[in-house]
């Protein structure tokens, strides 16, 4: 049943995943000197993974994806009334949401990995650019990917937490974005990791609390 649940979650996320993949292509295409859109420019002037050009695009595009995915998996399902079809099935309620979060987290990491992987592979291939390249230069991108998991959890919590849209509904999302920025900006890895762990624990604790206690 967990497999069927995961397939269902994946199937429902496919549209957003496809959109995020297109965004990834749209971001890295110009950086690799390939114009993706007819009216879009391209430039090979960037040193791969050296300047922050790809990072800001990654943060904006996949941050939005993470947030919308978290909301779609919860608030949208609640709005459609399908929780009433799903949640009385013979399975502990936490498990429904654990599967949702596993699929969502995997999707967020997968689109980031896709972008970093393709851009990294292009950067590592000889003859593509005239600058040194080491795979360790991708670390800030991976760090950002980890931070976007927090944004996803913030979106997820915003969906399960009872609140008004014109009100405090998006407070957890804003909180998670602020924490993600803090994690990224922190110069010490141990401090970043601590803030990440504390934020993730707080978000997960709140999610499981609301999953168990809020009305559907």
């Amino acid at each position: 049943m967990l497999k069927q649940l995961a397939i269902k979650e994946l199937r429902e996320s496919l549209g957003l995943l496809a959109l995020a993949t297109l965004c990834a292509i749209g971001i890295i295409g110009p950086l690799m000197g390939k114009a993706v859109l007819p009216w879009g420019g391209s430039s090979k002037a960037w040193y791969p993974f050296v300047n922050d050009m790809h990072l800001s695009s990654q943060a904006m595009a996949f941050g939005a994806f993470a947030l919308v995915l978290g909301l779609k998996q919860t608030a949208y399902e609640s709005h459609q009334g399908t929780f009433r079809f799903l949640l009385h099935r013979p399975l502990a309620r936490n498990k429904f949401f654990v599967v949702k979060m596993l699929v969502g987290t995997t999707a967020v990491l997968a689109v980031n990995a896709f972008m970093i992987g393709i851009y990294g592979w292009w950067s590592a291939s000889a003859g593509n650019h005239a600058s040194p390249y080491f795979w360790s230069m991708t670390i800030p991108s991976w760090k950002l990917s980890g931070n976007l998991v927090l944004v996803y959890l913030g979106g997820f919590l915003s969906g399960v937490r009872p609140a008004k849209w014109i009100g405090t509904r998006l407070v957890p999302a804003v909180f998670s974005i602020v924490c993600a920025i803090l994690v990224y900006a922190c110069p010490w890895w141990w401090a970043s990791l601590t803030v990440w762990l504390v934020t993730a624990t707080a978000l997960l604790t709140a999610i499981f609390y609301y999953v168990q206690t809020s009305d559907q």
């Binding site: 049943m1 497999k3 069927q4 649940l5 269902k8 199937r11 429902e12 459609q80 009334g81 399908t82 929780f83 009433r84 079809f85 949640l87 009385h88 099935r89 013979p90 399975l91 502990a92 309620r93 206690t213 009305d215 559907q216």
Partner: protein, 316 residues
Amino acid sequence: MTHVIETHRLTKHYGSQRVVDCLNLNVEQGQVYGFLGRNGAGKSTTIKMLLGMVRPDSGSAELLGEPVSELAPATRERIAYIAEGHPLYNWMTIGEAVRFTKAFYSCWNSELVEQILDHFELSRRQKLRRLSNGQRAQVSLALAVAPEPELLILDDPTLGLDTVVRRDFLESLIQIIHRKGRTILFSSHILGDVERVADRIGIMVDGVLRVDCPTDRFRESVKKLVLSFSGPAPEEVSCPGLVNSWNLGTELELVLVGYDETQRAAVEALEPRNIEVVDLNLEEAFIEYTRGRKRSLPLFATEESHAQAIGDQGAA
């Protein structure tokens, strides 16, 4: 008798409004229980509390002998629920919905699902988003009964269905479930449906279970009396079991619960020229009863236990 559904002083507030008020509801094994009430009476909230979708503010509820807050997956397998509006995943085909739902159950009667889909002429390849309300109800029914549940809870399952589909749906439901001695609790606004299938009814009025008795007993208990007078009818009427009264000049219409000798004597004391006792069908009885004076409505139940249960509510 074993109680398949049992609630004790179940209460729920939304904001300052008490939508379910100290509900004591007992449904016995094998019963088809019609759960009635006007919009906002608290039926859906009660059903959601029974299924653990909504947390009660106070009180307790048990399904199949287990507290609803701690229902084990094995017990949930024995309970089916059809939610109001038949929510389904619209992107799925019927076949995908069957496969998805089947994965949750150890017992699944595939033959029964096929029979129901065949009966309603539904193809497994049809997308759920393309189905009419009636067809969605039929798919919901197939998915609900396939795990061979002991208890089926339906929240207004025939809402929005046309007369023919509604009749077909209910008859299928009764054939499939009730012949096997299973228990059904269903809420509905359509009294004809309830009259056709329910052994017993409960009527919620403003969150309070005002009626809990066999269907026939309720229908027979609520009477309309038309009193004709030579002159103007009296303005004030006091009579035990009085639900409502209308002064129509020289006529007085009274709706009474449990019309008996005491009431007859009280009515005769008004010295009418003529008394006409009008029998009501379930729908008329329901309408007359529920549009009465709400909190002052006479409570009635037949069994001691139910009388006690309702007494608790009155006290609350």
